[in-house]
């Protein structure tokens, strides 16, 4: 591990890569603050830039910097305006905004910065311990197990989608897999489902799809419902200092939530959002008496908990991506797509084939967290001025950046028409309350899933691999259980509710 750290240090400390960390954090913070642009949209917008760099290490460092920055920026707008830019920071506004109303905006921002820093750093240490271990286990996997593992990942994402949503999430996953089969096939290079259109020969571009699924519907919602873009003057921010007693009271919260958040982040489908809500709930239950009553009214513990947890979860979500090559969240799915475009295949071989990429990313996580802390503590009052941009200027720019992002990937204006088409579909799906992350994850995993499936089928001349490899069978049974159990629970709950209604 020491050797790896040294490789990582030497790669990450180069002036260019340091510049990438700083740039990523700044861009992420600035854009993450804007309501309506989450980390997924921002990373999707930054992908052409990252691919333009060409060096996978620098590109991944840039993109992960953007990721942390976006989460941090989201917490700034949650605290100052009660308008979370990112779903993962909604829980931050529960106590952050009341603190800002009480005139303690500076203190709230300091606590958020420190909690984020601690969560991210402790998460990075845990990542350093667990990723190599998991990666050495994953090396024993065959294509059959990979296929089964991806099925588990996809069904876990559906299973965590929430009560009553499992079937919908599964439907979106399958739609994503279907979209992934458009274009030249995994096995024989025969074009499939292109309906004779040359533009579809190479399949849909994942950047276009990512933009259409996340950035475009968000922007359209901002247009349709101006209340979502609660921009305004954030006022003057003073009093950034916290006292020693306050630091001592949040220290145990930060410790607990970084570990808990990390492990929630590792689970596929449960990302920063679930980690922050769960962290908030757990800390409220642990707190006693007067402290518990303060939750929701400006408690520093209630602010530190979700902030720590969401940053630790962001780091945790890198574990399945880097060790198994399976993204657990929409954001890591986009990162996976970017890596594939840069000719790096994340997975257990990553640590062996390109240790510099792996370790440089981990080292850059420390540096990124440090940069965010240094950058944000003194500069936050100035950065927060971006929140005063009126929406009449903001929205055309967001739309323009989504168009640019998908155009630069392919240099083809047909791509823009596909973007608008998918954007309309995605908006309708959002209206109908369908989760969109499973669609994108299904789309990105689809090609790999089919490749591994085909390889296993060829090795075992048919479906025998399911029965002959106990681990494959076990994983597939797990996948089935993950989908069936929540559906069964929802079914029982519905039956019970109907019974109550009858009793009236």
């Amino acid at each position: 591990m020491i050797e790896g750290l040294l490789i990582g240090l030497s790669a990450a400390i180069s002036p260019f890569n340091l510049m990438m960390v700083v740039m990523g954090c700044v861009v992420g913070t600035l854009i993450g603050m804007l309501p309506g642009l989450g980390p997924m949209s921002i990373i999707a917008i930054m992908i052409p830039v990252a691919i333009g760099i060409g060096d996978p290490t620098a590109a991944l460092i840039l993109l992960s910097g953007v990721y942390y920055g976006a989460i941090f920026g989201g917490s700034t707008s949650s605290i100052l305006l009660n308008a979370p830019g990112v779903a993962g920071t909604v829980a931050t506004s529960f106590d952050g905004y009341p603190m800002a109303r009480k005139g303690q905006a500076g203190k709230a921002l300091t606590i958020a910065a420190i909690a984020s820093f601690a969560g991210g750093t402790i998460g990075a240490i845990l990542l350093m311990i667990f990723a190599p271990a998991l990666s050495s286990v994953a090396l024993l996997f065959h294509s059959a197990e990979y296929f089964a593992l991806m099925v588990v990942g996809l069904s876990a994402i559906a299973a965590f989608a929430g009560t009553g949503q499992v079937a919908k999430a599964l439907m979106m996953t399958i739609l994503g897999l279907m979209l992934g089969t458009v274009g030249e096939g995994a096995l024989s290079n025969t074009p499939r489902f292109t309906f004779g259109m040359m533009d579809l020969q190479s399949g849909f571009s994942f950047i276009t799809l990512a933009m259409a699924m996340f950035a475009l519907p968000e922007a359209l919602f901002l247009v349709m419902n101006p209340a979502r873009a609660a921009t305004g003057d954030s006022g003057k921010i003073t009093g950034m200092r916290i006292t020693g007693a306050e630091a001592r009271s949040i220290a145990p919260v930060i410790g607990r939530q970084s570990v808990q958040g990390f492990f929630i982040g590792v689970l596929p489908g449960a990302g920063a959002t679930i980690a922050s809500f769960l962290g908030y709930a757990v800390e409220r239950n642990i707190a006693k008496g007067a402290e518990q009553a303060e939750f929701g009214k400006g408690s520093i513990k209630g602010l530190a908990a979700p902030e720590t947890a969401n940053n630790a979860a962001c780091t945790g979500s890198f574990v399945p991506l880097l060790t198994l090559g399976i993204p657990g969240s929409g954001t890591t799915a986009i990162l996976l797509g970017a890596l594939l475009a840069l000719n790096v295949t994340p997975g257990p071989r990553l640590m062996i084939d390109t240790p510099d990429v792996f370790w440089a990313v981990i080292i850059s996580m420390y540096i990124g967290n440090l940069v965010l802390l240094i950058l944000n503590l003194p500069l936050i009052p100035y950065i927060a001025k971006i929140l005063t941009i009126p929406r009449t200027f903001l929205i055309p720019f967001i739309l323009f950046f989504t168009l640019m992002g998908s155009y630069l990937g392919q240099n083809n204006s047909t791509e823009l028409l596909i973007l608008v088409g998918f954007g309309v579909i995605a908006t309708i799906l959002r209206f109908a309350d369908y989760p969109l992350a499973p669609l994108l994850i299904g789309f990105i995993l689809g090609v790999m899933l089919e490749n591994n499936f085909a390889r296993a089928m060829q090795l075992y001349r048919g479906f025998d691999f399911v029965l002959e490899r106990p681990m494959t069978l076990g994983l597939l049974v797990l996948a089935a259980l993950l989908v069936i159990l929540p559906s069964f629970r929802a079914y029982r709950a519905r039956k019970r509710a109907e019974g109550v209604a009858d009793g009236d």
């Binding site: 052409p48 830039v49 333009g52 009553g164 079937a167 919908k168 599964l170 439907m171 399958i174 739609l175 897999l177 279907m178 089969t181 096939g185 995994a186 096995l187 024989s188 025969t190 499939r192 489902f193 919602f221 247009v223 349709m224 419902n225 101006p226 979502r228 009126p390 009449t392 200027f393 929205i395 055309p396 720019f397 739309l399 323009f400 168009l403 155009y407 630069l408 240099n411 204006s413 823009l416 608008v420 954007g423 309309v424 309708i428 799906l429 959002r430 209206f431 109908a432 309350d433 369908y434 089919e450 499936f453 085909a454 089928m457 060829q458 001349r461 048919g462 929802a490 519905r494 509710a497």
Partner: protein, 161 residues
């Protein structure tokens, strides 16, 4: 019928089209040598079709869970009339126009047009800020993409260069 059921119905229809293509049109093109292979290009789509039909029908026919109303913050479809739907559609049309004019008009012209008209549609009338912002943004982004990233973007209309 609620919107999510209509979406499920559309999905089932899509599965039928997709399945028809997978089951009846793809295998004819397969060279004989590949037919001895246990897995064909159509195998995976066939599995997806079956799964998709099953899940789509489940979503279509599951009774709605009680108390599953719209959550706070999300857009409530029953109040669709209160939202600025017209502006959203206008912006979508503008995006299509941008896609069609990007090549003929050149990047700079099309982008300035997009940003200015987009802001106008949203109700911005301060031209003395609007036009300089659009010009500077279009110019600097063109410079970044062309010079820093090295991706070719034609800046001016086709007949000029």
């Amino acid at each position: 019928m609620a919107l999510d059921r209509w979406v499920a119905l559309a999905f089932v229809a899509l599965c039928c089209v997709y399945g028809y293509a997978a089951f009846f049109t793809m295998d004819d093109l397969l060279p004989p040598i590949l037919q001895r292979n246990p897995v064909w290009p159509s195998t995976f789509p066939k599995i997806l079709t079956v799964l998709g039909l099953v899940v789509g029908l489940i979503v279509l026919f599951t009774p709605k869970a009680p108390g599953d109303g719209a959550r706070d913050g999300t857009i409530d479809l029953s109040r669709l009339g209160d939202y600025h739907v017209g502006q959203a559609i206008a912006l979508l049309v503008l995006m299509v126009i941008y896609a069609l004019t990007l090549r003929p008009l050149g990047f700079v012209g099309a982008t300035i047009g997009f940003l200015v008209i987009g802001s106008l549609l949203l109700g911005e009338r301060r031209f003395h800020i609007l036009i300089p912002v659009a010009v500077i943004a279009a110019g600097s982004i063109w410079y970044l993409v062309q010079e820093v990233l090295g991706i070719f973007l034609r800046p001016w209309p086709g007949f000029l260069m």
